[in-house]
Each structure stands twice: as C-alpha cells, then as structure tokens.
C-alpha cells in the first residue's frame, strides 16, 4: 500500500477518535497533538488496527516516537 494512502486513512481514523483534524507531519509526536494522551492512545491504536486489518505488538507500540514511525509500522504490516 502507498504511504500516502496509509496517511490519509490513518488521518481519518485519528480525526474520528479525537474529533478534530490533525495537521499531518511525520515528525509530530503524540504530545504535539491535542487530545492524544494515554487515555485516547489505545482507542486510536485499536481503530487503526481495525482500519488496516492488522495487529500490533506492545513492544512495537512502545518504540513509536512520532507519527512517521506509526505509518512505517503500519506499512510494514500491510505489505
């Protein structure tokens, strides 16, 4: 799957959970995004898993440090 398509679909999922659009930049971290905290994190993760039909491991999630790495991880699983 193309990276741009993943970003678009992920953006929609995140906006659905947080109820606002995220101005996408690969370098953004959760702390930079209004409403993305430890409470909303797992809901976003679960929605992303459903959207792409994939399963993450906790170890993989612990290593995510920015939006770009989430997209890379999704891409590595949907290929």
């Amino acid at each position: 799957m193309e990276k741009n398509e993943i970003i678009e679909r992920a953006k929609k999922v995140i906006a659905g959970v947080l109820k606002h659009e995220v101005k996408w930049e690969d370098s953004l971290t959760a702390a930079d995004i209004d409403g993305w905290d430890s409470l909303s994190h797992m809901i976003i993760i679960s929605e992303v898993e459903e959207e792409f039909g994939i399963k993450f491991k906790l170890k993989e999630l612990n290593k995510l440090d920015r939006l770009g790495s989430l997209i890379d991880l999704i891409q590595s699983k949907v290929l």
């Binding site: 947080l18 109820k19 209004d34 905290d37 909303s40 994190h41 679960s46 906790l58």
Partner: protein
Amino acid sequence: MTFTSLEFIGFLPLCFLLYWYVFKKNAGMQNVFLVVASLVFYAWSSLFFLALLIFSAIFNFYLGIGIFSARNQNRKRLFLWLGVLINLLPLLCFKYFIPFFTSGPGFFGDVFAGGLMLPLGISFYTFQMLGYIIDIYNEEIEAEKNILPFAVYVCFFPKIIAGPIEPAQDFLPQVKVKRVFNYDLAVEGLRQIIWGLFVKIVIANNCASLAGPLFSNYMKFNGSTLFLGAFLYLFQVYCDFSGYSNIAVGVSKLFGIRLMRNFSAPFFSTNISEYWRKWHISLTLWMVKYIFTPLSFLLRKYKKAGLIISILVTFLLVGLWHGANWTFIVFGALHGLYFIPLLIFGKRRSLFTKGESGFSFNRILKMIALFLIVMLTCIFFGSDTLSHSLGYLEKIFSPSIFSPLQFSKPDKVKAFIMVGFICCLLIVEWLQQNRKYELQLDAIKNPYLRRSIYYALVLAILFFGSVNHIEFIYAHF
C-alpha cells in the same frame, strides 16, 4: 536522617564539599563517593535494612545484564518473571503480609510493633527496579554494564526515601559522565530547597498539628470544623510530599544531577486525568507505563469498557501501593471511578483534553468542584479505618456543617494563619504554572525584590515553622 533533621544540616554541606573538592577528579570517584554517602544516609535511618537495599542493587544489576544478554526470548521472559517475583517479594512481605499477620496481639505483633519493619523507601526503589528490568526486556534500554553508576541510580540519597521514581534512561546517562560544577544549577537547587522547606515546615507541619487531632477524635467535632480539617489535611499531604520532592530535586541539583518534577500545581486541574498528571507525577507515569498501557493494550478490543477496567485496576493498585489498608484501596478505587464519567459521557475532544488554560469562570468552577472531590476523598487517605472515614464524612454532610468552628482560640488563630499561607502558596503556584519550579523568579528583574522573597521565606520558616511532625508522610510508604 531526614531532609529536615539536624543531622542532615551537617551531612549535606559536608557531602557537597567532599564531592566537589575531593572526589571531583572523574565520574568513577564521584560515583564511589555518592554510593558511600548514600549508604551512610540510608544506614543512619534504617541500618537493619541496608543489606536489602544492597542486595536489590547487586541483584538487579546482574539480572539486567542477564535479561539483556539472554540468547532467546523464553530465557529473557524467564529472567524477567524471576526478577519481578524476587523484587516484589520483600515489598509484599514487609508491606502487606507482615502487617496483616501481626495486626493482632502475639509474638509477631510484639516484635514488629510500631511499623518499624518497613524498609525505608522500599516501595520507591522496588518500582524503580521493576521499571529498569522491564525496559531492558522490552528493548527500550540496554543493561548497565558498570555497577558504580547503577549503584548510584539505586541508592542516590536525595531520592532513596520517597522518590521521585526515576526512569533509568533519564538518570544513568547523567552519572556515567564526570559532573562539572554548574553554579546556576546549584542555585536552582537551593531555591527549590528553600521552597520545599517552607511548604513542609511552615504549611505541612502546622496543618498536621491542626488536622491530626480532628482525624483522631472526629466524633467530638462538628461538620464545619471537620470540613476545615479535611481542607488542612489535604494541604498537609500535598505540602509534605511536594515539599519533600522539591527538596529532593534541589539537593540532587547541588550534586549536578537532575531529577524529574513530581508535582506541578495539581489543584488548578479541571479534570481528574489532568490532576493525576500533576500529582505524584513519577508514580503516575510508572503506573501508566507498566500497568495501564499493557492492560489497556490487552483489552483494547473492548474499547471504552477495556479502558474503564484498565483504569480501575490501575487505581486500585495506586491505592494498594500506599499500604495494606482498606482506606487506601477505597481511596484508589474512588479515584479510578472518577475517570468513568469522563470516559462515558465526556465529548471526545474535552474527554481527552490536556486541561484548560487561562482564567475563566467555567474553569474556576471546574477547579473548585474537582478540588472538593479530591479533598473529600483524601479523608479516606487520612483515616485509620473505613468506618472512621465514613463517620468523618457523615458529620461533614450533616447540618452541623453550618455551625461555628469548634477550634480553641489559639488553634483558630493558627488555622487562620495557615489559610493565609495556603492562599500565598496557591497564588505563587498560579503565577508560576508554566515555570520549571515554583521559585523560578527570572521574570522579576529587580534582584533586591528576588532576594526579599527568599529572605521572607526563610523568616517565615524561622517564625512560623513547626518542628513537630518532622517526618515525611511518604517516607512510610
């Protein structure tokens, strides 16, 4: 020895001088000195349990290497679980099993009477060690190969009694290199020590002498007096622990080592989630990382229900972490329950909000409502038994809440002065909300005004300070 004891007044300057003048040559010498100083500090208060602390340091050092270098995942997992078990065993024994089996009369009751059997700082250093080995298992950090920096990480005296629970990735890099004296950092540290001493000795200790008798004999007092008692008790706990934390961070800065901030004006929070991000921050972060996140990950397919279960379990453990008493469990459970309306009814955007900023009527109302909830819940924290807490609450919610205060005249004056100091504390915290620490006064350009504030705090400590209740509450956790 505590931060507010006479011994510490001699111990700290002596260590400071030896560290920067005698043992300054390299990181190794600095670390040897810090380990020896920390062990002396620990032995002074808890010689009996020094061996347990040393065991914990050595065991976790080699365990970390074992987990890191294990050839396969099964072996890693085996080492991890063994480590979790062995780390938790002393904590469970001393904090939960022994108090449980010795609560009645008998041999153990006599031997272990007075709570003397709780190793100092065990809840804090155990959690720190658990975090360390779990992070190695999760490949977030590498195991430390040099025992000296690791020993400093475990035993470092500013944080050994009551935290902050410091992540290894923040602490270890600082002690693996030679520390060079940084005047500005040391001055920052001194400012934090002054502020910490002020809130502990002036506010916490005086509030303790007012609130203590109310909690012990609540049945003799009316609702309004008990309401004020609950207010003073909440500030006693807050000023005691935030004061301790400021002193710990400040003392650490004198040795060129930064520790994390443990409190950040929690009473200006507008929801419970924000409150816990500002109250005992190091414990909250630990609980989120090692309990809430794995649990909510496991339960993620249940969406909000999974989140609710994860939060309730996390806060039950927060309560239990404080001790083997139903009052702590109820305290934790209630805080967990306060998240539920936020999760179920809140609009998503505001549900997960970081909190509001600025000064609006709506924000003030939310802050007051949250403060009252936290204050009333703290009655469970301060009571010996559940029936005691419920009796206290029942009297608050009785018509006697409208009766005049039942304080003696000197206590009334003292309470009035304390409310004044608490207002000063809140004003300082409000003005300094976005600063790194309360006494970061760089916005005040006039040096005489800055110095006047420091002198005013020192004078307040000398004139209004109380040397009763000198122990820190969290030193017993």
